[in-house]
Amino acid sequence: MRFTLNIWRQNGPDEKGRFVTYEAHDVSSGMSFLEMLDSVNQGLIAKGEEPVAFEQDCREGICGSCSLVINGIPHGPDRGITSCQLYMRRFSDGAVITIEPWRARAFPIIKDLVVDRRALDRIMQAGGYISVHTGGAVDGNVLLISKDQAETAMDAASCIGCGACVAACKNASAMLFVAAKVSHLALLPQGKPERTRRVKTMLEAMDREGFGSCGNQNECEAVCPKRISVRFIARFNREYLRAGIVESGLPAEPESPHAEST
C-alpha cells in the first residue's frame, strides 16, 4: 500500500507551523499507524533530515502518550481506540491522510505533533486524589462496595489522560477528564470525605489552565479511546451542585455508600 501524508510541522511553540507532504511507500496492511510513521521517519533520518516528532510509548492503548488528529478526528476514524491501536488495513490504498497535533490553548505545541499536556497534571494536583498516608490503612474488606458501584467507578477510572476529549471539543474543555476523576472518587466510600472540596478545586484548576466550558455536544465521548460516558459529566454537575448546597449549610443528600448506583 502507499499513502500521501499531509503532516503538520512546527519547530517550536512560538514558530509558525505548516503542512508538509510526504509519501509513504511499501506499507503493509498489518502495520500500525505509528509503525507507518516510523518507516517514514527512518527514511528521513537516513537522509539526514529531521524526523517528524510525535508522542508514543506503550503502543497498546493504555499509557495515553499518542495524540494524533487523523483526518480531523482525534485518534482517527475508529471509536474506542488510541492512535497507536489504529492499523493501516483501515485505510484504502492510495489514500491522502492528514495528521495534526491536539489543538487547544491549554496544550501549547512543543514540536510538530507533540504538545505540552502538563495542564492536565496540574488539574489532578489540585484535588484528584484521596489524602491518605502510607501505612495504617484498614483491612481492604472492612468497607463493602457493591459490585455495580465498583464497576461504575472503574468505568470512570479507565481514563488514560490523553486529552483527546479536549482536542475534539470546540471549546477545548477538559470537562470529561475532570468529570471522570471526580466521579471515580465520589463513587467510592474512601473518596467521600473530600468530595465537596475536590469538585470545586478541580473545576477551578481547569478554568485557570485556559480550558473552555462544556458545551454539551458530546464530541468528547465520541473520541474517547476508553469510551468514557458523558453521563459522568452529568454526575459531575450533580456533585458540583451538591457541593454548593453543602457549603451553603443546607442539608445535603445522605452519605451512604450504597445510596448511588448507575
Binding site: G30, I62, S65, M124, Y129, V132
Partner: protein, 637 residues
Amino acid sequence: MMKLDPKIPPGPLETKWDRRRFSEKLVSPTNKRKITVIVVGTGLAGASAASTLGQLGYQVECFCFQDSPRRAHSIAAQGGINAAKNYQDDGDSVGRLFYDTIKGGDFRSREANVYRLAQVSTQIIDQCVALGIPFAREYGGQLANRSFGGVQVSRTFYCRGQTGQQLLLGAYSALCWQIDRGQVIMRPRTEMLDLVVVDGRARGIVVRDLVTGRLSVQTAHAVVLATGGYSNVYYLSTNASGSNVTATYRAWKQGAAFANPCFTQIHPTAIPPGDACQAKLTLMSESLRNDGRLWVPKMARDQRSSEDIPEAERDYFLERRYPRFGNLAPRDLASRAVKAVCDEGRGVGPGGHGVYLDFADVIAQQGVDVVRERYGNLFDMYQRITGEDAYRVPMRIYPAPHYTMGGLWVDYNLMSTIPGLFVIGEANFADHGANRLGASSLMQGLADGYFILPYTISHYLATVALSLIRDDHKESRAALRRVTSRISRLLNSKGYRTAASFHREVGKLLWNHCGMSRNAEGLKSALTAIPLLREEFWRNVMVPGSGEVFNQELEYAGRVADYLEFAELLCHDALHREESCGAHFREEYQRDEGEPQRDDGRFAHVAAWESREGESPILHKEPLAFEFVQPTTRSYQ
C-alpha cells in the same frame, strides 16, 4: 575491591523485618525538611516511594522522561497483584506466598527479602483500597480474587485487565497530593544520563531537559533509581518503546554492581510477531491461561485450520507435560514448551511461530458472556491487532521478552554497592530470583516504594552527616563532561544508518543467542559480534538535529548506544552460569526429558558484576544460604 554485604538481619525469618525496622535509626521531623532525595522514575516503585518520602517530610525531586508521571510503563500491567490475604480461605498464608515465590524463582533469591515481600503484600492491598483503587468485587461487596501461573491458590487482586493502570494511577494520585503540598518537585520530560559520585557516595545525577536539551546537575543527599527493566535490549519486547537501561547502566559504570543480568523473563503469551517494521510485541495477560487451553497439532507441518483438526489429533502440551498445573505452569516452563513444539515444526500461523490458546471449552461450559466479562478488553485488543475474532477461532500466541529479574545489586536495605544509591522495583535484582511469577511485579514495586525503602533510607540519612555538594563540584563537572562528550559524539558521527537499525540488529543477536535457550558456543559468538556492531554504530550512526533542542532521535540513539554495551554484560553473565535455572536455560545442562538441570553446588549465588573501564567486567559472588527452605528440584509435573 568491591564487597557484597547483604546486611540480612539474623534470627528467625518471621521477625527479621520487624527487628530491622526497630534497630534502624530515624531522622527527626525538623531534619527531614533539610534533606533532599532524588527519585528517578515514576512507575509503581518510583511514584509510591516519592509520595511516601514526601509525606514523611523529605524534600523530594522526582524525574521521569515521559510527559507525565502517569505514563510510566507500570501502566500497562494487565493481570493483577498478589497478596497473602487468604480471603478465599483456600490455604494461603504469608508462608505459602513466600514459598511459592522462592520456588518460582528457582531458589536464586534471598530468603529474607522474599519473606518480607510476602509479609508486606497484605498491607499493599489495604493501602490501595484506601487510595480509591476500584478493585474487582464480589456481589457481596468483598474484594474478588483470581489465580495465576505457578500457584494453587487464588490470591490475585485485579481491576479488569488494567490492574497496572489502576495501581499506577493510585500511586500517581498520591504523588499529586505531595506535589500540591510542595513536598515533591516533579520534573517530567527530564532524563537521567549519569550519576555523580563523590568520595564513594551517590550525591546527584546529570539530567537532560528533553524539551530544551539543557543539561544540568541535580544534587541530593541520596538518589533512588526506580527506572524499570531492560527487556528492550531485545528490540522487540512487550515494554513501552521508551523503557531503557540507561539509568541503571550509567550507575553501573560509576561503580554499582549489576546482578544476574541474564535472568530475563520471556513471557509465553504475546501476539506472534508479524512483519519487519513491527515495533513492539503486545502481551496477552497470563490470566487468559486460567480458562484458555494451549495446543498444537500432533502432526508436524499440519496445514489444516484449527476447526478441521479433530480433538484426537491435538496436543494439549502443557496439560500433558505438567498435569498438576496444566495451562497454569510458570512462565519460563510454558515459554520453553511453546518453543519446543514450534521447533518440532508443529507451530501454527505465519512462519510456524505460534501456538493456539483456545477458549472453546470455557465458552461452551460457561457461556460467551462470562468470558467477555473476564477478558473482553483482551479479546478486543487481539482482534484489533490481528483482525481475528478469538470468540470464534483460537488465539495464536508466541513468547516475547517481558520482564527482567536481573538489575542493580542491592542489600536487604535496597541500597546498591554505592552508598546513598538506592534501587527499587524492576530496576533492582532482589526478589524474583531466576524467574518471576505472574502478578508479583506489581507487588514488589509497591512493596519497595510504599513500605520498605522509606524505612531503610531513613537509616542511611540518619547515620551520615552530609551537606549538599555544589553544582560545580569537580565530580559534578566531570559527570557533566562525560554526558556532553557522548552527546556530541552521537551528533557528529553523521553516518548513514539509523539508530533503530542497530537496535534491531543487537536485539536479534540476543534473541538468537541469549533468548529462551542458550549455549556456550552461541554466547561466545555474540560476545564477538557485539563489539563489532558497536564500533560500526559509532562510525555510521546518523542522528539529525542538534543537542540543545527537543530531539527524540538523539534520546533514542543514546539509549541504543547503551544497549550495545549492556548486551555484552548480559552474555557474559549467561556464559558464566553453567546451569539451567528459571528463565536461564543452558542447552548443555538439561535432564533427559528436556527439563532444566540446576547446579546448587556451583551456582547457588548471586552473580554481581563490577564494571572496569576498557576491560571485561569482574564477577563477584554473593552466596545464597537457605536456612529455612530446602532447595528442591522445581517440579510442576
